[in-house]
Amino acid sequence: MSEFAPISIYLVISPLVSLILLGLPFPFASNSSTYPEKLSAYECGFDPFGDARSRFDIRFYLVSILFIIPDPEVTFSFPWAVPPNKIDLFGFWSMMAFLLILTIGSFYEWKRGASDRE
């Protein structure tokens, strides 16, 4: 487990690096006067129309739902790929069954038009 020690230290260092970068401007940065127009959301020079926290396209949501199934499947096939002894027929066919289910699912969602963007 000792090879994880640098990772855990790095886990502390890298937030520090970015936090130092975030904090560094505070003493130096110019602080001119602020007025409402300056702090409002940028919309091509107009006063912003309404709020950004409104409805958005459902398809972004669909993409993330489509992502949830294949990603763990792919992730779980890493332990299958890695062992030093080569895969035998049993390993091959069990993985193929697994991938077949994944393919059928993708094919179904394709035919149902879940990934269509008209």
Partner: protein, 363 residues
Amino acid sequence: MIIYTTEVEDINSFYTLESLKEVYGIIWMLVPILTLVLGITIGVLVIVWLEREISAGIQQRIGPEYAGPLGILQALADGTKLLFKENILPSRGNTRLFSIGPAIAVISILLSFSVIPFSSRLILADLNIGIFLWIAISSIAPVGLLMSGYGSNNKYSFLGGLRAAAQSISYEIPLTLCVLSISLLSNSSSTVDIVEAQSKYGFWGWNLWRQPIGFIVFLISSLAECERLPFDLPEAEEELVAGYQTEYSGIKFGLFYVASYLNLLLSSLFVTVLYLGGWNISIPYVFAPELFEINKINGIIGTTIGIFITLAKTYLFLFISIATRWTLPRLRMDQLLNLGWKFLLPISLGNLLLTTSFQLLSL
């Protein structure tokens, strides 16, 4: 039993010595980490300069020339300027998400550099799940982008953040499938083992020849993960002003740039490691490794040559992605998602199937 005070003092001194040793161990571990951070920071500055010079060359402009010789210090000057700029927080946004967003994007990409072998023993952490760590950590970056897009409370930023998240997760599956094929070929997911599996037969031993489909899919997906043109939809400047960066100013804006260039460097390094034989001198029949004893003895010369070769291959791919930026037009959002889900995903699944069958045949 009587314990004299001197004995107690002795025990105490031993104890402090032991704890000091641990402290020294931790401090000694800091040295490679800080070297790595410094190295990749310099790498980012070089990429920014290269991108400007190459873009200028392609567009027949002069490019940066005043800051330092050949404008090398231009990126440093820009970064310093951004440090002194005012930090504007949008009044109606969520300040906390707005501030943390860029930091998260940078942190997750910085962390992935820990599993990259720059030379034969020059790796921060030789994990046996090395490449898996990269895949796991790299999927945190879109969360940061989504946070900054949402926290800005700006329609452009929000759309940009959504697009960034959708694009990253769509292209992550083909990317992971390609990596899976590679680790199937090398029977390991440690980056060092993957490079060593390619060390025979010069450049004929590269995974590039054994995985041509995987290589192309990996290249396309990594371009999309970096949000580079032709896949820079999250910050498409004609439609969304600057995407999730619209409301940012000062160093937070700079952090996004650092994150995107770090990501570009990281993807090129991974292309090198996974497909182009990493630090190996890849010339067949010329036994340069044996000549210089690079693969055997980890001398200073061997390590330096290894770093040089890794970086040479990496910068070749950086050049390709910069040239791509000025060659290909931007995709539409539906084209982008169709390319990911209906082309790259089936192709990379087929590639995995092919790889598995060949592994089975070579039993």
